[in-house]
């Protein structure tokens, strides 16, 4: 699975577009708190659903107001078509859903049906985590990972348990996780959390992540 956002990045009633290995994805959260990741394309006219809006537990397309809700199978099913209020929406008006899991204070999306397995180190022994921030850079995931590995947060070292998608930094007083999202278009994001709830520490981690981001951006866009 690939992380697409901190959990705090998509509040109840909010939606955003993102990209998972080149696939445009809309991530949205119903008022019931459940988060969904769907193909970012309305089956009616192809409009991006991430331009739409959330009402209750449905995502509505901004173009013609077709509303889609999660069906039992997970895919988005058309609930209503405003231009034809008496019509039963056609069964094929569905939006493919991607497997979605919330863990480690992040939203994870599977890239294939049934992919609900988190990367190996995506665990902190059950400790609660606290959001730091996400950063997005104009370089592929491998370069972002290398930049983080080369410059761990002050007072921490990269842990041996780190894997491709999830970097773990351990220090005497902190444990920081940076989960990497490759977008498939030459850009990538890192979603950073920590087990340390202290505000000064998290603000320092914010500055650290932004420093790595700005360094990478300056290399690519001098």
């Amino acid at each position: 699975m690939i992380p697409v956002s901190l959990s705090s990045g998509v509040e109840p009633g909010a939606r955003t577009g993102t990209s998972v290995d080149g696939l445009p994805v809309v991530v949205w959260r119903g008022q019931d708190g459940t988060v969904h990741a769907w193909a970012d394309r309305c089956p009616h006219r192809g409009m991006r659903l991430s331009f739409g809006f959330v009402r209750e537990n449905a995502l509505t397309c901004i173009y013609h107001g077709w509303a889609f809700g999660p069906a039992d199978g997970g895919d988005g099913w058309c609930l209503s078509v405003p231009a034809h209020p008496g019509m039963t929406p056609p069964a094929k008006a569905t939006v493919p859903a991607l497997p979605t899991v919330e863990a480690l204070g992040m939203i994870w999306v599977g890239t294939t049906p049934g992919d609900t397995v988190l990367p190996q180190d995506a665990a902190v022994g059950g400790e609660p985590v606290h959001p730091v921030r996400s950063v997005t850079v104009p370089v592929p995931a491998a370069a972002l990972r290398a930049a983080f590995e080369a410059a761990p947060p002050p007072g921490t070292e990269i842990a041996e348990t780190s894997c491709d998608g999830v970097l773990t930094f351990k220090g005497p007083a902190d444990l920081v996780i940076a989960a990497i999202q490759g977008r498939g278009d030459g850009t990538s994001s890192a979603h950073v959390v920590t087990v340390n709830p202290g505000v000064p520490g998290r603000k320092a981690l914010c500055a650290w992540a932004a420093l790595v981001r700005d360094h990478l951006a300056a290399v690519v866009l001098p």
Binding site: S5, L6, S8, G9, E11, G13, A14, T16, G17, T18, S19, F51, G52, F53, T60, I62, R133, S134, T136, S189, V199, R202, K203, C206, A210, L221
Partner: protein, 191 residues
């Protein structure tokens, strides 16, 4: 009180927002403030006439309205950010105008600079949220938030989305939830 502006003019949008949020009665005169009508002299932005006072440009009008009618909407500690946001040279504004009014659109470098300015806003809000400050100038909304809203919410007009700016997205939802919020073309009523 008379406001000279245009619904399509994003420079005047923060003024329309403030008038609506404060529920201030104001007559409006629609003027053609597009760059085409002004023949390259650049838009002068909204003009407000209020009881013998004449304020020209969004920043001046916002400052006048807040000082006269709602001092709690003035930023508590200076408003250099307000000046930057309402400057004719603010990259998100320039990029959007070139996207809307020229065939070739904004140069790539300008779009990148505009994205960097949005990144600056996102960074500011990201740090502020840790300190319990969900607005640009602290714990409550000010005219700086209204001046920032248009450039942030209209960035799709030149192809910059909010995917990379989570704190900006949260703040946009806060502004939209203000009682009296009004949309403008490019800012949907729903969302």
């Amino acid at each position: 009180m008379i406001l000279y502006d245009n619904d399509l003019d994003a420079d005047a949008y923060p003024v329309r927002l403030l008038l609506s949020v404060l529920a201030l009665p104001c007559d409006r005169v629609i003027i053609d403030s597009s760059p085409l009508a002004l023949r390259g002299h650049g838009p002068r932005g909204p003009v407000l006439e209020d009881d013998g006072t004449r304020a020209v440009g969004a920043a001046a009008v916002l400052r006048h309205l807040a000082a006269q009618y709602a001092p709690n909407w003035l930023p508590p500690s200076g408003d250099s950010l307000l000046s930057a946001l309402t400057s004719p040279r603010f990259a998100p504004r320039q990029a959007r105008l070139l996207a809307l009014f020229t065939a070739e659109g904004p140069p790539l470098g300008l779009v990148e600079e505009a994205a960097h300015r949005l990144q600056d806003l996102d960074d500011h809000l990201t740090l502020g949220e840790f300190d319990g400050c969900p607005w640009f100038a602290g714990e409550r909304p000010t005219i700086t938030d209204l001046a920032a809203f248009g450039p942030a919410a209209l960035s799709n007009d030149y192809g910059v989305e909010h995917d990379a700016f989570p704190a900006l997205r949260r703040w946009i939802r806060r502004v939209r939830a203000l009682p009296g919020f009004v949309p403008m073309p490019g800012v949907p009523q729903y969302c």
